[in-house]
């Protein structure tokens, strides 16, 4: 049990005014030192599950423990010293320099009105260096490219000196190089520093190449949990994504190729997929819940 960072047992959650559960009876353990991805289609409950694990939402059923304690009972400051999160969207209202933005990661370690100490400055410098953002330190954050801004946000999470690093769709919208850089960085941190990494993503192919384990969510339920090879099967993916796919191995890791309608016609019944796509409108209630996370 000691080595479980997050433990969800049979956890469910329903947003106010929704008529279905956004997360339904999910059980999942995240072990210390592993890199795990929560994957699934849009609106499958990934972010909701993450918010349950991080104690932002209180489960309507089941139990979520974080470091052995009911997740929502954590003091946010205490939790922020152990878990660094890079959230999906973030729009600062006032301009900041990169170094100031990264220094915000020290706040959980500071007393309410104390200035940054030498130890804090060291941590900020180290985090900037680790995220390859030292050269950006004096730039205004408004002038950064998407990839640079993501590196800065990872640096800020590292300045928290956390045991766990969580990235919620943090590479969505980045080009190939920047996306790979961020993921390589996280993978390195997990391998070299013994951090635990949790990625939330809908990109199963990339996830498969970096993570130890994948949890695939489908309309709020855990469709499959295991190593990429175990989880990424045609059966699971076609059921979850409701689209015909082919699995192609790449250096021993399964990669998913989504088929075009004409390609699928040879392999399966296109009419069936047509109806599957219509059914893909399910989970709307959850999507609207997700659209209002704050």
């Amino acid at each position: 049990m000691d080595d479980l960072i997050f433990a969800a047992r049979d956890v469910s959650f329903r947003y106010p005014r929704a008529d279905t559960d956004a997360v339904h009876a999910v059980s999942l353990g995240v072990e210390r030192g592993e890199l795990i991805a929560l994957a699934g289609p849009n609106g499958s409950g990934k972010t909701t599950l993450l918010r349950l694990l991080l104690g932002v939402l209180i489960p309507s059923g089941g139990v979520v423990e974080t470091f052995g304690r009911a997740a929502h009972t954590w003091d946010r400051r205490a939790l922020a010293r152990r878990v660094g999160v890079v959230v999906q969207r973030e729009e600062p209202v006032f301009p900041l320099r990169v170094r100031e933005a990264v220094a915000l990661g020290r706040y959980p370690h500071l007393r309410p009105l104390a200035p940054l100490g030498p130890k804090d400055r060291e941590a900020v410098d180290a985090a900037l260096a680790r995220a390859d953002a030292t050269a950006l330190a004096d730039r205004w954050i408004g002038t950064l490219s998407g990839g640079e801004w993501q590196r800065v946000r990872v640096a800020r999470a590292l300045a928290q000196e956390p045991e766990v690093l969580v990235l919620d769709e943090a590479t969505a919208g980045l080009d190939i190089r920047h996306e790979m850089e961020v993921l390589e960085l996280v993978a390195d941190l997990v391998r070299e520093r013994g951090l635990t990494g949790v990625l939330v993503t809908h990109n199963v192919n990339l996830a498969a190449r970096f993570v130890d384990r994948l949890a695939i969510l489908d309309r709020g339920r855990a469709a499959a949990v295991g190593s990429p090879a175990e989880v990424l099967t045609r059966d699971v993916l076609e059921r979850v994504f409701r689209w015909p796919v082919e699995i192609v191995p790449w250096h021993g890791v399964p990669q998913v190729v989504a088929l075009r309608a004409a390609e699928a016609a040879g392999a399966a019944d296109p009419a069936g997929w047509q109806s599957g796509r219509v059914a893909g409108g399910a989970g709307e209630a959850e999507a609207s819940g997700n659209g209002d996370p704050e």
Partner: protein, 322 residues
Amino acid sequence: MRWIVLVAVAIATLLVAVALGPVHLGLGDVVRAIGGGGAPTTVSIVRDLRLPRALLAFLVGGSLAVTGAALQALVRNPLADPYLLGLSGGAGLGAVLALALHAAGAWAVPAWAAIGALLAIALVYRLAIVAGGVLDTRILLLAGVVVGAFAAALVAAVLALSPAREVRGALLWLLGSFEGTSWGAVIVFGAYAVVPLAVLYRASRPLDLLSLGEEPARFLGTNVETLKRVLYVAASLLTAAAVAVSGIIGFVGLVIPHAVRLVWGHTHRTLLPAAFLLGGILLAGADTVARVAFAPVSLPVGVVTAVVGVPVFAVLLRRWTT
């Protein structure tokens, strides 16, 4: 260095504010009179009339500037100002009613204004609590505008039904004034303001985080829901008291935080104290201008802050967009 300059300017502003008036005094006379020396009439003018007035203007200006800075981070909107939350409307309605109904006593108007402001605060707060008991800062803004507009309509109705003399008094009150400030008002306001100011200052670091957004603030260690409530209550109670003692003085809470950000940056730990001093300087200075510019007639101080504040704000807007 910047702090020394700011403190020196603050002291100089207060001294000049006390020196200027129908009877012009030298700065030496002012300093002596504060200590109780010099001609008895001078001592009386300084100690009983001008010093309390200048101090109250300073305290109110500082409070409005701090409140504005905190609210801009809370609602994540650089255009937020202390009066956006509807309480000025409630305060105005209370004050106008007190004047129209001839409520007796020196404290009648401030008391009614405070009650009106508190009712408006409670209403806006209630409207902004959405599903799940969450305080939605976007709705907070909208609710403030709506409640303010409603109160303004009632104010207009009361004024339309009142005799002309009272209408003039009420309009002047609505535009803000430190006319007839007593030491009692200074002491009551000063003692009252200490708590909300301390609460806001203590929230400096969470305010830094909040301006990133609620979600990042939470994961950087802030209990966001509690923070928002504490900030809203502290900011609105402070503004309510400011309105009660001085009427509705615009632009201090909007312009000063931005002016300070240009020099001191965005860290609330330094932003808030600097905003307090600069807000105090602006309002004590504006009140002096209001008193002496067209002596013996006084302008409403809100007119002076607006005349100074609007061009400054226009310049700031240009800087933003270019």
